[in-house]
Symmetry: C2
Subunit: 298 residues, 2 copies
Amino acid sequence: MSQKQKVAFIGLGVMGGPMARHLAAAGYDVTGYNRTLTRAEAWRKGCADHGLEVLTAPTPAEAAAGADMVFTCVGNDEDLAEVVLGADGVLGAMQQGALLVDHTTVSADMARRIDVAARKRGLEAVDAPVSGGQAGAENGKLAIMCGGSAGAVSRATPAMDSYAARIVHVGMAGAGQTAKMANQMCIAGVLGGLSEAIRLASAAGLDMDRTFEAISGGAAQSWQMENRWHTMVKDEFDFGFAIDWMRKDMGYALDEARRLGLSSPISALVDQFYAEVQAAGGGRRDTSALITRLPKGK
Amino acid sequence: MSQKQKVAFIGLGVMGGPMARHLAAAGYDVTGYNRTLTRAEAWRKGCADHGLEVLTAPTPAEAAAGADMVFTCVGNDEDLAEVVLGADGVLGAMQQGALLVDHTTVSADMARRIDVAARKRGLEAVDAPVSGGQAGAENGKLAIMCGGSAGAVSRATPAMDSYAARIVHVGMAGAGQTAKMANQMCIAGVLGGLSEAIRLASAAGLDMDRTFEAISGGAAQSWQMENRWHTMVKDEFDFGFAIDWMRKDMGYALDEARRLGLSSPISALVDQFYAEVQAAGGGRRDTSALITRLPKGK
């Protein structure tokens, strides 16, 4: 870049923090904002430890003022509405020609609302939820599903490249969110079947390592089987993607399916099972803790 | 081999036929039996076309007499009981020291019954259901899950090597069948989630190729996604593993789960959904036709 591009990053949590740092490392002039100001300061110091100079701002609007691109990565619909559409939100402060890129997993409806609000101000928005978790954010190897115009996604791509292994444009506004929901529905079904298979094999006294070896090379194979079989067998769940987050995503997925007149019985059932695991205190555990609600047999 | 080993192969269908032919090609002296005698004759001619001389017998007992190993690959519990335990079944005709290897997918209970009956005669049995389908049988690349004593599985391995890419000993009598059931439960869950994900993405108007690209590299990945996404999107199901067979397997799996005091709600629900697809005339279609019972949306 002949001149440093100015970007704002709203939400400096376990995902947004390292993503914003990767932007700084890639040569962007980054101003960060976080609702909890001590976290913003910790992020600034963390960047400084990497030899990167960044700024922080006291409100989303002040972070976004004068930025060429504004990134958001917060918790849910309500959080996103506040930092984008609220009184101190970024949208009212963004300059003409600036681009809004949201990395939060939110409802497709919220993504469309933001798209409409941005267009009313003559701006463009991209909904760009990520997968790959905290490790993917730290290593800069996230997969990003993008909804929006082809032009807007192209404009956002060089910046997103600083923390992405894969960027795919799947459709218009809200499509990135919908792809993420499809992703979560697949995971729900995979873990539903896998949990029951592990209980069956284990209760029947099979050698679990050899059973994995026998079935993991064929039509039953899945990422979850390859990466969670051995931990599920050992009742280890204190890592990975938390059920609390999965329930949020499943709620959005089931809302969107309802809007589209679809039936999603497996997703709905697994979502209910996750509610049971949450109620039993397992909300912070990995999604593979779905198995914990199943009896171990006689 | 200094002297050709004699083997019998009971059941010369789309799976057993090529498996028996691979045994002949590997140097075994094979006698085949099939309930429909014209099919046995067609198999003999098919072997001759490959330059292989084989024999056929008019009953399972006559095929098994004098054999060192007896293989079975028939349809279900009832078929297997007939060819093994029936009046003309193999067990009464097998010589001392001979080994029984069953490749049918049957109930774990049937595998244990056969094991007990074999031991009463001083013989050993291996339950060895396969996966890999017709293509795997033709190419000699099946995966075989084995239950029985370590000694019996070792004895069967050189012969099974002629049509297997992978042979895994998972436990005692019935364990091979139980591993196959676990395999099918995993597939049921995967296809349940995948079907709903495809309906959601499609109804929302996403680019389906790009959505596949976006989600197939991460935590939602599965063999079924990689091999069935594009055909499911195009409503193509006239190939693969038939729902009629899947329902048989799921019935055995749910019976075994019941015996073990387990709960298998996702498997039970997908099994019911398959009953609907069967009732609508889809029993011969690939298991991925599970998606056909889901509405396509508004």
